[in-house]
């Protein structure tokens, strides 16, 4: 069942195209993460869904009802879409409890419900009368989340909600938030520019670049089978080599590699190998030579090279399994699993 349906959405500011041709569906109770570098249009997309901007093309539907197209729209305050922002945006003149109660309409059991939400958000009830400035960054975000949940929103939007937090706290808040939202059963759209945050939070990952949707799918499928080199590199360490394809075989500097059945291709192109697929062993007769090996204890940065079809090919990667490699050693490389062809 689809909560949010976006079709062919577009937005321009003057002559700049912020978004074009966006199609996206968000399933009930799922977590969608929109990820992209700054300027990719992800915040614009979020503001269009929330109702703070109006689209120039396409439409947005919530639970099958139209909420915005280029002519008409439901005002932001009537959409019942929850929103948590980067700094939390708590009202500085209201206590924690009053912040959470802000969106609750029925006065009678407002504070009872707010206290229940504090429990859900793992906030100590003793904090109810504190002022926002007395809270830590993580606590502020929990209050903002509880405040947004108080209205039982049909969809929750999170605008880089963890980026103002310390690195250690960020991961913890990410998991806590996912947990709280799962308990509340609300479908969520989160935007971020942080890869780890996106991979860690998403059921559905959406890649935006220059206002266009590049690819959408589960984090695993996107990591394994990105459509192009930029996306491949954005989602994790990538080794990208020129290759000749023939059916399920990619012929490249690493040898003849196996391609997944669905990806079978023909002709010249590029192939993606993830560093964790590499198996490296010292072998005196092998073609690859180690040109640099920096051992940093928990990790080592290794670069190896060989001559392939008259060109020098270099591969750099971080791996814990290559401890002990020395510059000048000959190594042989084997690939486990299937590799993935990329659009060039």
């Amino acid at each position: 069942m689809t909560v949010l349906h976006i079709a062919n959405l577009g937005k321009t500011y003057g002559t700049t195209t912020a978004l074009a041709g966006i199609n996206l569906d968000v399933a009930m109770g799922s977590r969608t993460v929109i990820v992209g570098p700054s300027g990719s249009g992800k915040t614009t997309l979020l503001r269009l869904i929330a109702g703070f901007e109006t689209p120039d093309a396409g439409k947005i539907e919530l639970n099958g009802e139209l909420i915005a197209d280029r002519e008409v729209g439901v005002p932001a305050h009537r959409r019942n879409i929850g929103l948590v922002m980067q700094e939390g945006a708590l009202f500085p003149h209201l206590s924690v409890l009053d912040n959470i109660c802000f969106g609750i309409r029925s006065e009678a059991d407002a504070s009872k419900r707010a206290l229940a939400l504090m429990d859900l958000a793992e906030l100590d009830r003793g904090m109810a009368q504190r002022q926002p400035h007395q809270l830590s960054g993580g606590q502020q975000q929990r209050v903002a989340l509880a405040r947004a949940l108080a209205r039982q929103p049909r969809l929750m939007l999170l605008d880089e909600p963890f980026s103002a937090l310390d690195a250690g706290l960020r991961e913890q808040m990410r998991d806590a938030t996912a947990n709280i939202l799962a308990q509340a059963g609300v479908a969520t759209v989160l935007v971020t520019h942080d890869r780890d945050e996106a991979m860690g939070f998403a059921d559905q990952l959406v890649i935006l670049r220059d206002g266009r949707l590049v690819q959408a799918g589960s984090p695993k499928s996107l990591y394994r089978r990105p459509v192009n080199a930029t996306t491949a590199a954005f989602l994790g360490a990538a080794i990208i080599l020129p290759a000749d394809f023939s059916g399920r075989t990619a012929e490249c500097a690493l040898g003849a590699l196996l391609i997944a059945e669905d990806d079978a291709a023909e002709g010249a192109g590029k192939v993606l190998v993830r560093p964790e697929q590499l198996n490296i062993a010292v072998a005196p007769e092998a073609e690859w030579r180690v040109v640099s090996a920096l051992d940093r204890g928990n990790k080592s940065a290794v670069t190896i090279e060989r001559v392939y079809r008259g060109d020098r090919v270099m591969i750099s990667f971080d791996d814990v399994s290559t401890h002990g490699l020395e510059v000048g050693q000959a190594v042989q490389v084997e690939i486990t699993g299937t590799v993935h062809p990329l659009e060039s």
């Binding site: 959409r79 922002m85 980067q86 700094e87 947004a148």
Partner: protein
Amino acid sequence: MRLYRHRRRGAWPLVLAAAIAVAALSLLPVGFVLVVLVQSGWGTASALLFRPRIGELLINTMLLEVLAVPLSIVLALALAWLTERSDLKWRALWRWLAVAPLAIPAFVQAYAWDSAIPVLRGLWPAVLVSVLAYFPLVYLPVIAQLRRLDPAMEDVAATLGTRPLAVFLRVVLPQLRLAISGGALLIALHLLSEYGLYVLIRYDTLTVAIVSQFQAVYDGPAANLMGIVLVFLAVVFLAAEAWMRGERRYARVGGGAARQVALAKLGAWWPLFMALPLLVTVLAIGLPVVTLLRWLLIGGVEAWHLPQLAVATWQTAGYALAGAVTVCIMALPIAWLAARAPGPLQKTLENIHFQVGALPGVIVALALVAVTVRVALPLYQTVATLLLAYVLLYLPRAIVSVRASLAQVPVELERAATALGRPPLIVLVGVTLRLAFPGIAAGMALVAMGITTELTATLMLSPIGTETLATQFWARTGEFDHVGAAPFALAMVILSLPLCVILHSQATGARSS
């Protein structure tokens, strides 16, 4: 869910309409000047304007400006350097005392000098009293700017072998240009529109002549045409300030906390340096306060006509409060547009709002008299007209405060409230205005204190039977009743004291923001 047609222009049409209405209202005095020019025709205008008397007034006014403005700048700079960049003893006290003259209205300052030393007449006494009354208008922006400067630049200059005085002249002073030119413009415009001070010192400026002409013939062509000369001078000053300010902006590059600047050591010469703030304090505060107390003492209990004082205070408070609230409400639309929906249209509107602030109060009064007499006679000499004059005079002051406090409310809070189901108008009142209120209240206080000591427009427009502190004070000095005027003067000084506190904290708080 109900669907609504999108508003494509962003800003609310109602807010925009309100801002346009206020802008149109603030164009009233300029419109009046243009109508007078067109209606009187070249013959009348040249006959009335090209007279030796007008030339004499023009020379008097300009002499005053070219002497008092530079002297104020030099005095303000010297005090600012001593209180901010030297190790002078009791700097905080001297800083307060350098702001304190603002609590003494210029015409009260003049009353004190005139009644203490009655032989003070003409240009130089006028310059002296003007400088004492108005130099804080340069001092305040200069110390605010000094506190914003990055001390690293001065340190670098010192490592390049520049002597402390040369550092101030070559590195610091150029960066104070905006503050100095802005403050100097304020002083120049104040001198242009000041009336009470120069009547008491017997120095005829254009404004003095216009008001006395007006008192002889209401809505006469002579006063109106002299008013045009005044507007012309104001425009010249505005252009001169824009030219002095130039296109350059002095941005501070890079972030990081500002460090404490190294203070210049005055060494054994410090008593000599302390003589300056001491002398200024004695002249600008000591003499008026002592004179006031002397008249109060001579008058004793009988001089306190308490019923009259109570009526005047009551009426003044009423005008001040009503004026302050009206002005701030009228400033809201344009301030909201400036803070939330900036654009070329908003910028133009804002400039229109601001131009009226450069016009002398006497012009605003002349315009309102002309309009009420010719177009809306029932409004002539009513409370409404006087309030309108206050609105026009203090609108820019209110906009600055209201805009700044609206801009400090994060737009994210408005969005959060909207996402939580609050309609836009409720968000504006319940969140934005609620959070901006302290700043708006400070703006109201500034306007209210301005109204409390406003003399010129009040004299020209007040309904019959009006007894404000300023008009009561003025009536008594007109009869040389120094004793009777003293309680009213004291009341105005006391009511103006918060002005100093607000302005002092705005100027010195610049470092933390």
